[in-house]
């Protein structure tokens, strides 16, 4: 499976909608301090189900874009297009498809998920991603400042990691 496109609107430092195409291979994201690179990382893990605490926000409201002056926006949405899930997704999708649109929205203090545009529970998203070996808290996702964390965890915790991949 591949990540095709990520679309971010009203989330953290993203005011107007921004769409990034990922394609296969090696993509680099660059820019000066404080411009929003890690916020893109957060958007990607957010739409995959990561909790706001892991996104440097104490409550989901803090994820709504707040301009330098004036009020925060009322709604935030992150949408992810994933291709090539193949037969793994058979039962989880409303109908067979090569491309899947997964989105997560925050409005009125609550977050809702949509799959192919239709509202769905968080566990459906979790199952879908599990089928393609994607875990928003997985080891293939390394947050800023956390790379050596896997060495500093207890040997017990590291032992569990092997179970997760076995």
């Amino acid at each position: 499976a591949t990540i095709e496109r990520l679309s971010i609107a009203g989330f953290k430092s993203f005011r107007r909608r921004v769409t990034i195409a990922f394609h296969t291979g090696f993509t680099a994201i660059v820019g000066e301090n404080g411009t929003g690179k890690s916020n893109i990382f957060d958007a990607l893990t957010f739409v995959m189900g990561r909790r706001s605490r892991a996104l440097r926000a104490e409550r989901v409201e803090q994820l709504l874009h707040a301009p330098p002056t004036g009020d925060p926006v009322e709604e935030a949405e992150v949408a992810l297009t994933i291709a090539g899930g193949g037969t793994a997704w058979g039962d989880l999708l409303p109908m067979p498809a090569d491309e899947v649109l997964l989105s997560r929205r925050i409005a009125s203090g609550a977050s809702t998920y949509r799959l192919q545009g239709r509202t769905c529970p968080a566990r459906t998203v979790e199952a879908l991603l599990g089928e393609i070996h994607v875990d928003p808290n997985g080891f293939h996702i390394v947050e800023q400042g956390m790379v050596v964390d896997v060495l500093e965890r207890s040997p017990k915790r590291r032992r569990e990691i092997l179970d997760e991949v076995a």
């Binding site: 953290k12 994607v134 092997l162």
Partner: protein, 154 residues
């Protein structure tokens, strides 16, 4: 079940060693159970850089620990391949030579999986297939597709 675990541990351990040698230009690394008789005991990572005596993981330098950690994360693919790797500034502690070695390794992984890297490091960025620049204007982030220009100073 037990056999499955040991076969995965063996595969990941041997992959870890392969990646370690590649990133360190030598030396060796492996995984071991704290108590080989107890399948639920902790997992130890042994890492010995080239021309150095084996030592506690903790005594390794910042850059050395970074390379061991990255090798471990990538080695897990031998247990279960990940479709993409999302790495935010994992190269902060690396010198030029190690950044270059890491970039070459990631480029290879990018043939099988998507590799998305956030970095300030020119070594890493040079190896990318595409580059997105992020800027902030009036408190709002914007993303620009960037051209990789070959520098006069290689």
């Amino acid at each position: 079940k037990r056999e499955r675990f040991f076969s995965v541990m063996e595969a990941v351990s041997s992959e870890l060693d392969k990646l370690f040698r590649r990133l360190f230009n030598g030396g060796e690394a492996s995984l071991a159970l704290a108590d080989p008789a107890n399948i639920d005991s902790g997992l130890l990572i042994r890492a010995r850089p080239p021309a150095k005596e084996p030592r506690l993981l903790d005594a390794l330098s910042g850059g050395e620990k970074t390379l061991v950690a990255i090798a471990f994360v990538l080695a897990l693919a031998a247990g279960r391949p990940a479709p993409f790797y999302l790495l935010d500034e994992v190269d902060a502690a690396l010198d030029k030579a190690n950044s270059e070695r890491l970039a070459n390794l990631l480029k290879e992984y990018a043939r099988e999986a998507q590799v998305i890297v956030i970095s300030h490091n020119e070594e890493l960025i040079r190896h990318a297939d595409r580059v997105y620049g992020v800027v902030m204007r009036e408190g709002a982030s914007e993303v620009v597709a960037m051209e990789l220009v070959a520098h006069a100073r290689s």
